[in-house]
Symmetry: C3
Subunit: 337 residues, 3 copies
């Protein structure tokens, strides 16, 4: 998240690579390989001076383009002495990092999370580290029948499990909707709004590759279609793989009602944070169980997996494209917020 990146260097592992992030004097963000090209000491243990970073092993200094600008006791600086630079951009309240070749970074491919900072909307924010493959976190997002079980204490309840999802798979996205009519409100909704009876609840969700998910949630007293007496918020999730088996999970929840009421924001933040901790607990056990080899027992899909399976097909198509360099639109951004 942007407020994590300051003048003091921040070390973070992304896609198995070690990065250091810091801000220049003008506030712009620099992301470099966190291994000094001289002896691989961590630049994140270094010191930012002006818009440059000093390695605190032998004193080499690097600018935001990764170029070495100073070596103690040496005048000529070899051109090869460069730390890798990762293109970054701040957008929608997050920091986006391009992990591929710097030349092919394309800001226009960042998915539209404009609601995060949109006028008339107010967002709450969060970050969670999950010890699990980002793809099983995506599976979690894309099969929302789990909310009746994993989130029985927060955003779900039993009726929420049985309602089918209408899945619309695309080449570069997956959409699905669920409508739950005349159902009891789950605990979190009761905390957010004093519903006195059953509700009509909808989820309109979108997966955007490689690892982004948006869920537009709406609940009104059943039969009323009256937003003024209900709630609406959008869950924006963006995953950054840390390693093959661990994931940075950034989320923002913009809402367009009671945007000046901090208490409402606090409820939405704390309840969702609690729900995401419930997901984390499940996913981390699932990850461990998947690492235990039992060759005789493949994973068997059920109907509720339609969106998750469509998501996997999108990812597989993109991986094939990336392997073949066939079509430039396969270059998908990966980000760190």
């Amino acid at each position: 998240m942007p407020d994590e990146v300051r003048r003091e260097p921040l070390g973070r592992m992304i896609c198995g690579e070690a990065l250091v992030l810091f801000r220049r004097e003008d506030g712009s963000i620099v992301a470099l390989q966190d291994q000094c090209p001289h002896r691989k000491y961590a630049l994140s243990k270094g010191r930012v001076e002006g818009s440059e970073i000093v390695c605190l092993y032998h004193g080499l200094k690097f600018n935001g383009e990764g170029r070495c600008t100073f070596i103690p006791g040496q005048d000529r600086i070899p051109d090869t002495l460069k730390a890798r630079v990762y293109p970054t951009v701040e957008k929608f309240g997050w920091v986006w990092i391009w992990m591929g070749d710097a030349g092919s970074a394309d800001e226009s491919r960042i998915p539209d999370f404009s609601l995060n900072l949109a006028p008339g909307w107010k967002s709450v924010w969060g970050y969670l580290k999950i010890e699990g493959d980002y793809r099983i976190v995506l599976d979690n997002f894309l099969d929302l029948t789990h909310i009746g079980y994993v989130h029985a204490a927060t955003i779900g309840n039993a009726p929420a499990a049985a309602v089918p999802m209408n899945v619309e798979p695309g080449e570069d996205y997956v959409r699905f909707t669920r409508f739950m009519v005349d159902v009891p409100p789950p605990p979190t909704f009761l905390k957010a709004v004093a519903f006195t009876g059953n509700i009509d609840r909808s989820q309109k969700a979108r997966f955007l590759p490689p690892s982004n998910f948006q869920n537009d949630i709406r609940a009104v007293p059943t039969g009323t279609n009256d937003d003024a007496r209900g709630l609406r918020f959008v869950v924006n999730n963006s995953l950054t793989p840390e390693t093959e088996n661990s994931t940075h999970y950034f989320w923002a929840i913009p809402r367009n009602y009671r945007i000046d009421d901090d208490a409402t924001g606090d409820v939405i933040r704390s309840e969702n944070a609690r729900a995401f901790e419930e997901d984390k607990a499940v996913i981390e056990i699932q990850q461990k169980m998947m690492e235990i080899e039992t060759p005789r027992t493949p994973i068997i899909p059920i109907k509720a997996d339609a969106a998750a399976l469509a998501m996997r097909r999108v990812l597989e198509r993109l991986e094939r494209l990336e392997a073949g360099h066939a079509q430039p639109q396969s270059d998908t951004p990966r980000r760190n917020d």
Copy 2:
């Protein structure tokens, strides 16, 4: 042990596989693969309802035969959606699990530990987890000269080390006996019986594959042959591999004297538990030392290894048979108590 398996699910790793155990409403034991066949979440984190278990990720329900009986929002349940079932039986106060093909499970091959629950006998029970290969635990059982060193504070003393073992190796078993005549009683024996002088002590031991051991222990005042003034108990040990390098160790010690005297039972239990902790400490260091590669230094056997070497030959013969599927009697049960 049977009292570990309750209505609430118990997760346990056996032979590198993850199992969940629970009791049906009628008290019978179910053992299933602990990975939901849908998404591999741990069923042991689930909830038993009636005689079935509910996966608390997406709500799928499985009966004791591993068959899925309920999917939220889905009518037709695919036949392939099955958790693997492990045949189990309660016998001799332990739970026996067959890890091979369910069809070839044969209760009659469970070794005879009937003394555990026999009339006129009373048992104390214990469980220990050892971070070591079950075969080096068996080595420990089968070379009892170690009791003079490892158990100098409990069940052994120096004279106990030098007495030779009379080994009778068989195709499917190893037997050995040791007679120690006119020796001082070790500390544990003094706590159990107020011996005033030397004793005659005997150990009659049997290894039964794949990982069971019984040791019939008797001590009387030297020269008297008078059981009424001595002690006799049988150490029944049964090992279940957890992984290649760790072992579940279940033990029971039935005795046929002072069976209504709880204080005697307490001494036998606590002293033997202490001795087995002494074994555990040694075996776990041995395991670590065996993992340090020193190719120039093979293990050199000594005379006292006769029983352990015979045990290894029995195991190797059974492994060859299992690999060749030549003779059905090679299917040996492995258990979890």
Copy 3:
């Protein structure tokens, strides 16, 4: 260090092998493989009796030549039942262990650290375990420009970084010198001597393979060349690889001034110990960063690496010689102090 080796056995891993060290009754040092040749239990968990060590698993006893001298209950002792012996010698206040074939041990190849115990000199001593490859510890010794950054709080300061090293590489050694004229004294020097102005400071350093380093340090008030108003001490470093990624670091610092002043010794010991902890912190982060694969980013040398590169060439030459068994002088001692 010699005072670590006592009558009670000491277990220590060296070059990936497990050793046990103890002293015979006459005070001489025995180093054996720490795996009993019978069942690989740790001899270091055993008991020294006279000049022999008893394995506390089955009671086997071994003398200082590794020969088994006693097996409980067995008269004939097989010749093969031997623990490997590592030749050792106490010299210069350290214990030197030869890890190669015992027959080719040659005490004359131990590098000259005679100042450690020389008349007219007094040493302070230390030991540190570093979780890093011994070669990156050597790199640290051989590029002293790092003292201006890593040791800014102790033995270095910014001027210390820029001064060039005059490197004299040899076939079996690397020498370099640095002269810093009219520079401010670093914090540690101020604690040791009440310098009132700038100093002239020199470092005369030698690398001796495979893993030894000596640095002769001198500081006097600038322009005076007056040892009586300055300080001089020699840093003797000797590394013993524990594993491929960890190192035992033994150091001694002899000085030839104020040798009867314990307060001076205390300052030298504590300040250098602090500086070496600073090195340890840097090296352990460097080790972790080197383990993160980033194939596109090789290590780029700078001028200050001249000595370290020469050191690597010496090591590589010795490895080639050892691999080819071409010249006996390639057998270089490795030690444990």
